[in-house]
Each structure stands twice: as C-alpha cells, then as structure tokens.
C-alpha cells in the first residue's frame, strides 16, 4: 500500500527527482567506495597547515628539556587504528627525536599490543639508539579503568610491580626513583573512548594540576567531550586524522629527515637489494597526511549526498503540498 503510494507520488516528478527518490543504497555504497579508493590509488595528498591545537601540542613537547620522562597511555584498539595510529607514530617519533625517556602503559587490553607495534615501527628503525629499559619500557595493560589512574598517580608500584617482561620496576634504569606517575614530566594519552582522555583529565590533571602536563590524541567522535578540558587540564589535543596530519607537518618539518632516518632508509634499501628504496620523510611518518586525501573526497561526497537528499525532500514536499 505504502509502496504503491510512493510510486504514484514519484511518478509526478521529473526523471532526476524520480531517480534520486528511488536510488538504491548500494549505489551510495559504491560511490563511497570510489570516493575513498580513488584518492588512495591516485595518491591524492592535499597540503596541510598546522592549526592552533596541533601547534600547542607540538610546542609542549618541544619545550621539554631533552631526557624528560614521558608516559604514554595507549587506550585504543585495532578498530580505531586507522584514525589514531598516525598520531601515535608521530608522538613517539617526536619524543624520541627530542631524546625523552618513554614508558608505555594501556588501560585497554589491546592497547599494550598497539604500544609494542609502535615501538617496533618507529623506535627500532628510526631510533636504533633507544634501548629497552634505559630509554623506553613497556608496562603493559592493567584492568581497572580509571581506578588504575587513581592509584598510580600516587603509588605506581601498587599496580605495576614489574614491566611486561617481568623485570621489577626498581631494576629498570629509566624508572629509578619513580614511585608514582607524578615523576613524569608529560603524559600523552591516545584514546578511542572509555577509559581514556576524559579519565586522565579527571583523575590525573584535575586532581594534581601541577604534577604533570597532559596531551591527548583522540578520535573525532569523542573530541566534543574533551574540548571543555582544553587548555586547563589538557595542554594540547590532536583531533582525528586532521590533527595527526597537521602534527606530522610540524614534526616532519623539524625531525623528518634526521641522520638516523636517512641511515635507516639506506639500511632498508641495502637489505632489500635496492627493491625498497625510500627517500625523504619515511611513508610511515606521513600516514596522517596520506589519509587526508580520501577524507577530503569522502567529505565532499557526504555534502553532495546531503544536498541531493534535501533536493528530493523539498521537491516531493512542495508537490505533495500543492496537491
């Protein structure tokens, strides 16, 4: 009955409106696939300029003296990797380029794996001087959500007695004398939801405002909930791929072609017999910028679809009202 009514109603309109009104959603799926796939194949990469949030984030890490202790909280999993991994890579590369000591923990079960992967992808090839225990350490995952933050902010050893390899914290050189996370100069949280940036702000910097600085990298969908904490509780924030791309521009502008990176590329080329020859800033450090091409076309498609949907709405509504 209702289908018959819709068909008779559509029959009054022109072919374009009829086409849109009866458009199968699989065509929209195909359009979205092309909107994302084509820029990837054509390597479309629009130019990025850093905005105020990315610049504030970059400046915080730049201002820290070399050798500062930085605690990374990897609170995301593979589902959000597409949006968050580029900023995780850029954060680690930036901190390592400044010579900071890095400790990694996770409040998400799979966050510990993401931390391991990031160390393998960034630290090992581009910062080979970084030694486990001396320059970085993996504390791993702990259950308890914000409860973990509440405890480690005053007593780290109550939750983390050893790192992921079972080495007692007291025997890890970079953690000598560290009894709680207030001994860290900076906390960088990369978050896809709960527990994440909001909890680090509420139970970390809100409770102990002068103890350490908090920087966050977040998915676009939860950024609205985090803006109220900037700039008081969070001194910097990277929002989604756009934030990562802007931050990459700043980091790569200063640390994109260091001697260590050039050496790593030469070694990579030598071991592959010249098959994997890469010059300039490594591709893994430009992932955020690379993903802005598909995002641009996908967003344009979304705007077009909304406009077309409203054309159908107004055309059918006007005709319906006139009838």
């Amino acid at each position: 009955m209702s289908t018959q009514h819709t068909q008779s109603s559509n029959a009054q309109h022109g072919p374009f409106i009829r086409f849109l009104a009866t458009l199968d959603r699989r065509w929209i799926f195909l359009a979205m696939m092309l909107a994302v796939g084509t820029p990837i194949l054509l390597q479309l990469r629009p130019a990025e300029t850093a905005g105020p949030l990315s610049t504030a984030t970059f400046d915080v890490i730049e201002a820290l003296p070399a050798g500062s202790r930085v605690l990374f909280a990897f609170d995301y999993d593979p589902a959000s990797e597409g949006e968050l991994q580029p900023m995780a890579n850029a954060f680690v590369h930036h901190c390592a380029s400044k010579g900071h000591k890095l400790a990694f923990l996770a409040l998400w079960p799979l966050g510990a794996q993401k931390a391991n992967e990031t160390a393998e992808t960034i630290l090992k090839p581009f910062h080979p001087e970084y030694q486990a225990g001396v320059d970085y350490c993996m504390l791993g995952y702990k259950a308890g959500n914000e409860g973990v933050i509440k405890v480690i902010v005053t007593d780290l050893l109550q939750v983390y007695q050893a790192d992921v390899n079972g080495t007692p914290l007291s025997e890890i050189p970079m953690l000598k004398g560290v009894t709680n996370i207030q001994a860290f100069d900076l906390i960088i949280n990369i978050s896809a939801g709960y527990p994440g940036s909001k909890e680090w702000a509420q139970y970390g910097t809100s409770a102990y405002p002068d103890a350490f600085i908090l920087l966050v990298g977040t998915t676009g969908v939860q950024s609205n909930q985090l803006y109220p904490y900037y700039p008081a509780q969070m001194k910097g924030m990277l929002v989604a791929i756009k934030g990562a791309a802007e931050y990459e521009v700043l980091v790569n502008g200063k640390y994109g072609e260091t001697a260590a990176i050039l050496a790593a590329q030469a070694a990579m080329s030598a071991t592959s017999g010249g098959a994997m020859k890469e010059t300039g800033v490594p591709a893994v450090l430009q992932e955020g910028q690379r993903r802005m091409g598909p995002q641009l076309v996908a967003h344009l498609l979304m705007v077009t679809l909304i406009v077309l949907g409203n054309i159908v709405y107004f055309a059918t509504r006007t005709k319906g009202a006139a009838r």
């Binding site: 799926f29 979205m32 629009p46 589902a79 109550q158 641009l296 344009l300 077309l308």
Partner: protein, 233 residues
C-alpha cells in the same frame, strides 16, 4: 538478610571512604586501598565474563537455538585464543633463555596468539569500524533533512565541519586573508570556533547536568536508598 546487608554495608563504607579521601590528604591512603579493591574486582570480572560467555554460548549450542553456529564460532575463537595466550602455545623461543619454558615470545606474529591478533582480530575490527562510512553516507542521503530551524542549523554546522576539517576549506575560502577582518569566515577557522566555543559551551552544560545526576545517584547508593544493583531473588 546477609545477601542485602553486606553489599549495602560495603558500598556505603567504600563510597564514604572515597569521598573523604578526596577532600582530606590524611585519608588519601584509605582511598588508594579501596581503589585497589576495585582494580582487583575488575580483573576478577574478566573471569566472570569469560565464564558467562562460555555458559551462554554452550547453552545456545546445546539447545540448537537459531544462530547456534555463530555461538560455536564465538566459542572456538574464545577457547583457542585463550589457550594460545595463557599456555603460550607455539611461542617463539627466547634467544636469551632458549631452554627455559614459558620464556618465549607469544605476541610475535610467528606465534599463534600473535598471528590471531595480527591477521584475524585486527582486520576484523578495523573492517567493522570502516563499514560505518558506508552507513553514514546512506543515512546522510536519506535522513538529513532541513525540516525546521533546528535541522537547518544542524545542517549548516555539519557542512562547515565536514568542509572545514579537510583541504576543501583552503580551496573554498583560502583566499580570505588570515589577518583580515573577515578571517572568521574562513571555513577552517569557523570549524575550529564552532568546536572550541559553541560545541564546548553546550557540552559543558550537559557535563554539569550529568555530574549533578551522578552525585545524586552516588549519594543514593552510598546511603542505601537506591538498592536496584542488588540481585533480587
């Protein structure tokens, strides 16, 4: 009697300690102890969750309810991954301690646990998340209508954010001077201002409302007025 009184007593005491610990430095340690209980309970909850998963899916398979084959897949994935991780099956021998059992790297992609993570879990979860783009596009075409003033405001905001968060902003409004009087009309600036001021003002109001609600609910729980969390029998 005990089934209701003991949980009520624990909740009241734990809640009261956490409140007092926040305001009084002398009782900070008490708060840490209670929070540590919570962390221990959270870890135990994983065991309860695993047991519940087993029970629910085994029941579904044994009674051959619709979709029981999915339950079987879930169960197999759960049991195998658990075995690979807990028993370190097929772990890559540790070069430093080759003769020591349990010393191997089970997270390497050459070990079954790492392989499942890298080649099953990661692609599956990433695919599920990526599929959102298709459904959002379809929903935008069919449901995002300028039906009234509120919807028009929402549409306008969506356009600014969608365009302002990409290079389209520079293409469309990049010609407006950054330091000129009309700089606020640049799409990238508009997007930042909407998110940083307009959206934040609304979010703050909602957060304050939620915080008051949480405070009221917490007090009801601590004082034993709200007992809905207790299991009824």
């Amino acid at each position: 009697m005990l089934k209701r009184t003991v949980p009520l007593f624990i909740t009241g005491i734990a809640g009261a300690i956490l409140i007092v610990a926040y305001f009084s430095p002398a009782t900070t340690n008490w708060g840490e102890v209670v929070t540590d209980w919570m962390n221990t309970l959270a870890a135990v909850a994983f065991i309860l969750g695993g047991g519940n998963l087993l029970f629910v899916n085994l029941e579904k398979i044994s009674s051959k309810r619709p979709g029981w084959a999915y339950a079987l897949v879930t169960l197999l994935a759960f049991v195998l991954t658990l075995a690979f991780g807990v028993l370190k099956i097929g772990a890559v021998p540790n070069a430093q301690f080759p003769a020591t059992p349990w010393a191997g790297d089970y997270e390497s992609v050459r070990a079954p646990f790492g392989w499942v993570y890298e080649y099953v879990l990661s692609p599956l979860t990433a695919t599920m998340f990526a599929m959102l783009a298709f459904y959002v596009a379809s929903a935008a075409f069919r449901a995002f209508r300028a039906k009234n003033i509120e919807a028009i405001l929402l549409l306008g905001t969506a356009f600014v954010i969608l365009l302002g968060r990409t290079a389209a902003a520079a293409i469309l409004t990049g010609w407006i001077p950054v330091d000129g009087p009309f700089a606020f009309l640049r799409l990238d600036t508009l997007a930042v201002n909407i998110m940083q001021y307009v959206s934040t003002a609304g979010t703050r109001a909602i957060m304050m409302g939620i915080a008051l609600g949480i405070a009221a609910t917490s007090l009801r729980l601590i004082l034993g007025i709200d007992r809905s969390y207790l299991v009824s029998d």
